[in-house]
Amino acid sequence: MIGASSLFTVAVFAPLFGAIIAGLFGAGLFGPSIGDRGARAVSVGLMVLATVCGLGALSGALSQGSPTLAVPVSDWIQAGGFRAPWTLRFDMLSVEMVAMVTLVSTLIHIYSIGYMSHETNPVSRFFAYLSLFTFAMLMLVSSDNLIQLFFGWEGVGLASYLLIGYWYDRPSANAAAIKAFVVNRVADLFFMVGIALLFALFGTVSYDNIFALVPDHQAAMYHLFGTDMRAYEVIGVLLFIGAMGKSAQLFFHTWLPDAMEGPTPVSALIHAATMVTAGVFLLARMSPLIEFAPVTKDLVVLIGASTCFFAATVGLVQPDIKRTIAYSTCSQLGYMFMACGVGVYQAGMFHLTTHAFFKALLFLGAGSVIHALHDEQDMFKMGGLARKLPVTCAVMWIGSLALAGIPPFAGWWSKDAIIDATFIAGTGPGYYGWLLGSLTAFLTALYSGRLLFLVFHGKPRDAQLAEHAHESGPVILGPLVVLAIGAAFAGAAFAPWFIGGRQAGFWNGAIFTAPGNAVLASLEQVPVLITLVPTVLALLGAATSYYAYVAKPELPARLATQYGSLYRFLLNKWYFDELYDRIFVRPYEAIARLFWHVGEEDIAEGVPDGIGRLTSGGSMQLVRVQTGSIAVYAFTMLIGLVVLISTFLVFR
């Protein structure tokens, strides 16, 4: 048992060393340099080490029956009655995430060697950021208390900010980076307040202690907005708002599509295995608490289902290949939240894992296309690339089939389980989730097909562009093939462990299911007709996309002009950005200016300045702070002392 947990520790910390070495010595900023090549080698090498250790820890955990261990590292914060140590938590939830994150991240590191090879500037900074990001994510998933989770949480926020803005010459990249950071911070504030409230209630932030105390405080009420609410619901909603920010759920989703300004491997890392899934992970991690907050769970289903549908409609009309995939991420995260909301966190984690494979694959595949076309991202300029990019095309097909939920690819297993679960839950929000989830299955297949047909099939729309296209090298294709294997088989392979017969032993308490919650157990009892609905809709969606983009390619354009307002509504992402600009950004800028010019210049500084001018008038001129003025100060000081001492003498 010692072995597995120390492998686990190495897996978590190896990327940190990679980041430090590549960052400090790659470009030789602060001393000796190991060169760009050296930095890449160290960073990738340590990632490979992390992956080996991560997978080793996973197999160790499996062979030992998923034990739960704490690996203390050091003291951290300990003051004012508050305590949060640095401790790693070794249980199936964290081990599974560490194995998956290190594996996907390593593939992305390797891929980046090829993808960033045309950069004129040194790329050691890029690899340092990638490794830093991975470390932060690993700290997040392996945390033993909420504060350490928040450390990782903010760490991935920082790294994503740095990565999105990697090409800092580009104004759009800088704007997107700031947007990502700030939108996340808004959600993080609520998260932080939630943690504070949780500490106030339980007197601890470490998971084991919280979970042990959950039964004791069930009846606790918290007075807010003039009424008494159950404290668990308030905490649950606050934590969920934090999760919404990181996982780009509706109202907090605006940063995610813009984040496509970063290099493509970044999109894969942020949107596939890691950052955006942190919210889902949080709910699974806090399942012992969330299970006792039914209102929160309903809210999670409602938001998840709405996001799922909303993002799919927007993804349907985007011309940019990466933005299409970004919206699909948003949409798939909605599915994961739905699963958590109906109490089947296991299915949420399952979809999270399969999604990591096929979404990383899709992004990296898109990157391969973009790379081949010299940074062209507009799908309406592509077409007919299947012959030029055969491997990329094949893996993109696999990834898209997995995403669309076509059996037997990975996505089908996890997505179907979620949609079935929403039906079985039998609640109002559950049916809402089932309805939108099923509709979205159709939309998902439709936009996935649209992407494939626009990019790889039909006639090239830009002959010159297609002419110069070339398949990528093995450094890029290798990771794609590995991920494609995952996208094809991970569903069938993992299903028994994550949600099937072996799940109880697999999770071994890492995910909590409330005694009355039988949704997971009754998954098999869903009526056959109902289980077929999403699959049939997905096939229909795929058929529709074939009809619209291959058989009748003029149809989409005609529809777009015919329903112009709807098309623009979708194309402009339901006008969320414009709305936020009007109600948040511009008013705040106006207030800032008002405070400065009126509050500061006229009042806080203006009034004293005015008084000073009135009273001193000409004498101000005399008090030049020049050589002689030391005397003035000393004199004033002396007066003060004289007043002081004489007062003492008088009052004596």
């Binding site: 007075h223 000081m637 003492f648």
Partner: protein
């Protein structure tokens, strides 16, 4: 304790200043090297002081209650006034903050200041003595004298070596603080009248009537509120911070402003618990206003230094909130926030100075793409910016977290609104960073040389301390935590509050 270590730490800078008087001042226009003697004397003095203060830190025993390293010399025994010095865990760390920032400020001034170097160094060393004296004083009169005395070197530093509006800024700074101090004098005399002594440990044990407490508290708010500053007593701040030479700004914003907060903690909260409880909602309100208002004003600024000046104001608002939560977590958070803020704000002001001294302007609009030319500066500035935002792993996070833990025990909205600094701070810092560092390199900026070795020696220690405070804060909390807990317990007892009511709004239904 044979060696009078604390007196040595307090007065060694003064000795250094006296030695500097023996050095012949060099006229303006003399070769730089002729002032090197003065620079070296100042640096060595401050380094020795720093080493001695580290000895204090290491030999402090947190498990012993009360003040340590005490020294007492009768001054006016008939009046109950003595020259009394001593440290508890809280003041010890502020002394350490002052002694750490001073050599760094001196090093940062090395090339930045080349007129009247001897006088400048003299002023810096005098400022150090007075700052240490403020935190080490165990007699209110001694405290008052040191507190007033800080004004002389600080005003001189602004008024002689500052920017174009230096005279005005210096006068305003002086008059504001001096005006506030008059009220402290009133409170001091009132306390002495009642207690018959100005000895701080005795005053701490004295119970003042609630009525007297109210008036004394009001006086202290005016006195320390100017320094902290409390909204709306901050009229001096932006001019003083912006006009002072950066190393002096680092000391004023980093240490001197903490003297105000320290005064609140030592005198207002510890000696006047009833009045503190009554005034706490108002003080927290003022703190929240400062947090949000100053953050908004910061965003609108067009000058880098002024933006950071308002950022500092915003963070001190958070300190005020933490102090007046009057519970252990909040006060511990405030103390930690003060320490980490002192380091971070110094780092930011000094980093900006390294940029402005190369270009000759602090106008944000004049910059762009600096990261291309100065990657070292960009890296360190990013660290300080993120620390200022309160990212976990940096010292600021620990302070903000604890303040929030304390704030939620006062109320939900207190926590949420004071936490707005998390968002608003990120907005102005990232916007500033983008405008200055990112984008295409402006050709108008010409050739910018990246940080030199001595400049790295200024920023790197601050960066390392920032990370240290974020990753292993126990080195610091260990020292002050017992004192904070005792204080919070006293507050608690003074209210005779039932033990259970720790969280307003929270109730456990009968089970």
């Amino acid at each position: 304790m044979h060696l009078p270590l604390l007196s040595l730490v307090t007065f060694l800078p003064l000795l250094g200043a006296l030695v500097l008087l023996l050095v012949r001042g060099t006229p303006d226009g003399a070769p730089r090297a002729s002032s090197d003697t003065a620079r070296w004397i100042a640096l060595w003095t401050s380094v020795v002081v720093w080493l001695l203060s580290v000895v204090l830190w290491l030999s402090y025993d947190p498990s012993v209650a009360g003040f340590q390293f005490q020294q007492r010399v009768d001054w006016m025994p008939a009046l109950g006034i003595s020259f009394h010095l001593g440290l508890d865990g809280i003041s010890l760390l502020f002394v350490l903050l002052a002694t750490t920032l001073t050599p760094i400020a001196i090093l940062a001034s090395w090339r930045l200041i080349d007129s009247r170097v001897r006088d400048y160094m003299l002023a810096i060393l005098l400022l150090e003595t007075t700052l240490i004296g403020v935190f080490a004083a165990l007699d209110f009169v001694v405290f008052y004298v040191f507190y007033e005395a800080t004004l002389i070197p600080a005003s001189l530093l602004i008024g002689v070596w500052g920017g174009p509006k230096r005279v005005f800024a210096s006068l305003k700074f002086f008059l504001f603080t001096f005006g506030g101090s008059l009220f402290m004098l009133i409170a001091l005399i009132a306390m002495w009248q009642i207690a018959g002594t100005t000895d701080i440990p005795t005053l701490l044990a004295t119970h003042f009537t609630p009525h007297a407490q109210g008036w004394m508290f009001l006086c202290l708010v005016l006195a320390f509120g100017v320094k902290l500053p409390i909204f709306p007593l901050h009229g001096w701040l932006s001019d003083a911070y912006a006009e002072a030479p950066a190393p002096a700004t680092a000391l004023i914003a980093g240490v001197l402003s903490k003297a105000g907060a320290y005064g609140f903690l030592r005198f207002a909260i510890s000696m006047l618990p009833d009045a503190s409880h009554r005034a706490a909602p108002w003080m927290i309100g003022l703190g929240i206003v400062a947090v949000i208002y100053a953050a908004a004003v910061a965003l609108a600024q067009t000058d880098m230094k002024r933006m950071i000046a308002y950022s500092s104001f915003s963070h001190m608002g958070l300190v005020l909130v933490g102090l007046f939560t009057l519970n252990a977590a909040g006060v511990a958070g405030a103390v930690f926030q003060m320490l980490s803020h002192g380091i971070i704000i110094a780092g930011l002001f000094l980093a900006i100075a390294m940029l402005t001294s190369r270009v000759g302007t602090g106008e944000i609009a004049g910059f762009g793409g600096v990261a291309h030319r100065m990657p070292r500066l960009a890296t360190l500035a990013m660290l300080f910016a993120m620390a200022n935002i309160g990212l976990p792993g940096t010292g600021a996070f620990v302070g903000e977290l604890l303040v929030m833990i304390g704030a939620i025990q006062v109320g939900f909205w207190v926590a949420l609104l004071s936490g707005m600094s998390m968002i608003l701070g990120a907005v102005y810092m990232l916007v500033l960073y983008r405008r200055v560092m990112f984008g295409a390199a402006k050709s108008a900026l010409g050739v910018l040389r990246d940080l030199t070795g001595p400049e790295l020696a200024v920023l790197a220690p601050l960066a390392l301390i920032t990370l240290w405070m974020g990753i292993y804060p126990s080195s610091f909390t260990r020292v002050f935590d017992p004192g904070v807990r005792v204080l919070a317990q006293m507050e608690h007892d003074s209210q005779h509050a039932p033990q259970q009511a720790m969280l307003p709004g929270l109730s456990e239904a009968a089970r």
